[in-house]
């Protein structure tokens, strides 16, 4: 199930994320995440795909350091000797999570202020806003913007610290399909242009295939990684890919894995019989 080709291609890149036997069980006894091993190398775009409640967000939050695993451990750049790994990380949440009392500029500036980035923040803000096409909206307030634009502000805020690892938790799940497809393309471009490492969470098979170099399929709660598909499609990817035969094949493959993982296939077969 693993596509060796892609692993060979980048096995010399340093490891960015190393998850070893991480699991999460809440004090209430709810098992959110089963044992997970995961390795993401620099320059990869890895997507966690799974049904709602499978713990993919939990896993992402662990990688982001927002949640401690009950067992196992998470390491960023385990081979690197410098201990500054957390500073090279940014997170895009499910909702834009903007400060409603601050302008677009104020929101984008926040990570720089919190990390005491010092002087010379202006060009960083300017370039982050330009990357997401919001240069003319610096002084606007979040509620004056559409949902898609708010999400762009959120992305600009994540990019302003020039992170090397970008964690995204179903960032476009609440948007309409047209906006979502456009933002998917933009994220993909940003990833390529900035040579980012991306870890993305979604429950959309199409989004997973379109964005990723590698898709990991997770089972229903407590989530485990049950399958992997490498998407060997060069960059840039255009909307033409979405209607191609290989796109459909990848999607079918993932769909099968998801059905196996959640045990739905059996039920469907029974219904048919």
């Amino acid at each position: 199930m693993t596509n060796n080709q892609s692993l060979i291609n980048n096995h010399r890149c340093p490891i960015a994320v190393q998850v070893e036997g991480a699991a999460k069980t809440y004090p209430s006894g709810l098992a959110a995440l089963g044992m997970v091993d995961l390795q993401v190398r620099e320059g990869e775009f890895v997507t966690l795909l799974g049904p709602s409640g499978c713990g993919k967000s939990t896993l992402l939050r662990m990688v982001g350091g927002l949640l401690q695993p009950s067992t196992g451990r998470v390491r960023l750049w385990p081979e690197s000797s410098t201990a500054t790994s957390r500073e090279r990380l940014a997170f895009v949440f499910q909702s834009p999570t903007l400060m409603p009392w601050a302008s677009v500029e104020g929101n984008v500036r926040l990570p720089l202020d919190l990390t005491h980035a010092g002087a010379d923040t202006e060009p960083k803000i300017q370039s982050a806003l330009e990357l997401v096409g919001l240069r003319d909206f610096r002084t606007a307030y979040p509620r004056e913007l559409s949902g898609g634009m708010q999400m762009r502000v959120s992305i600009a805020r994540a990019l302003v610290t020039e992170p090397r690892l970008l964690l995204m938790d179903e960032p476009f799940g609440a948007l309409d399909e047209i906006t979502r497809n456009r933002l998917d393309r933009e994220i993909r471009d940003l990833w390529a242009r900035r040579s980012l490492t991306a870890l993305f969470v979604t429950h959309s098979i199409y989004e997973a295939v379109f964005l990723s170099t590698r898709v990991l399929v997770m089972s229903a709660r407590p989530g485990r990684i049950v399958g992997e598909v490498a998407v060997d499609e060069p960059h840039p990817r255009t909307d033409a890919l979405r209607v191609s035969e290989r796109f459909a094949r990848w999607c079918a493959q993932l769909s099968d894995m998801l059905a196996d993982a959640s045990g739905e296939r059996g039920e469907i077969d029974r219904d048919a019989a």
Partner: protein, 264 residues
Amino acid sequence: MSTRLLRYLAPGTVGVVFLLLWEGLVRAFDVPFYLVPSPALVLHTLVHDAPLLLGSLVVTLKITVLALLLSVVLGVGIAFLFVQNRTLERSLFPYVVLLQVTPIVAIAPLIIIWVKDPLAALVICATIVAIFPIISNTSLGLRSVDPGLADLFRLYGAGRWQTLVRLRVPSALPYFFAGLRVAGGLALIGAVVAEFVAGTGGTGSGLAYQILQAGLQLNIPRLFAALVLITLTGVAIFLLVSLAANLTLRRWHESELMSEHQIR
């Protein structure tokens, strides 16, 4: 007709009709002025007794404003402490509630006896009445932080102070202003009640004292005139606080949005 015009015209009309009806009824039934004075007589008294009444107004206003300021400073300070330390909040909050549920009329005599300076005594009474909504609303607001934003601050390693100033305080502002609006009215009520209790005990020259005196002397028109001043003061405080809330929140908070966004 535009909705804006209607907003002022409708209640204005009700007020004018009410006053005319009052005036007409008093005249028609020849009600003696020491029972119910006519609006015209009240207005006349207001003008005639202006030096006396305005002097009293200044006294009451001073107590109210000082009490409100003290409530804001102390209330916000206590709310900050509560939010920084759960144990402190758990230990002290019941006593804050105790202060709130005890009728001020019952404790005012004690405070007036204990505190030598009459102005200070009255301000303390009014503060006790006004401070609760500030404490409870501000501490609720300081805790009502968007969990996503809290995560974001954690992600970038924000310190306690940064989180307080940049996240908790702005999140708390709408709650604080809602509390302030209630506290403004309560400060006035507290001031008037405390003045009533203090009564003729040497201090009195506030509006409540005038009402008390006018009542004893059956000077009902002056009583009404003082009452009108108290009411107008209450309305003025409410409007000022609302204006402050509007100026602070109108760009971003749902409660103060410009009309085109409003739900009809």
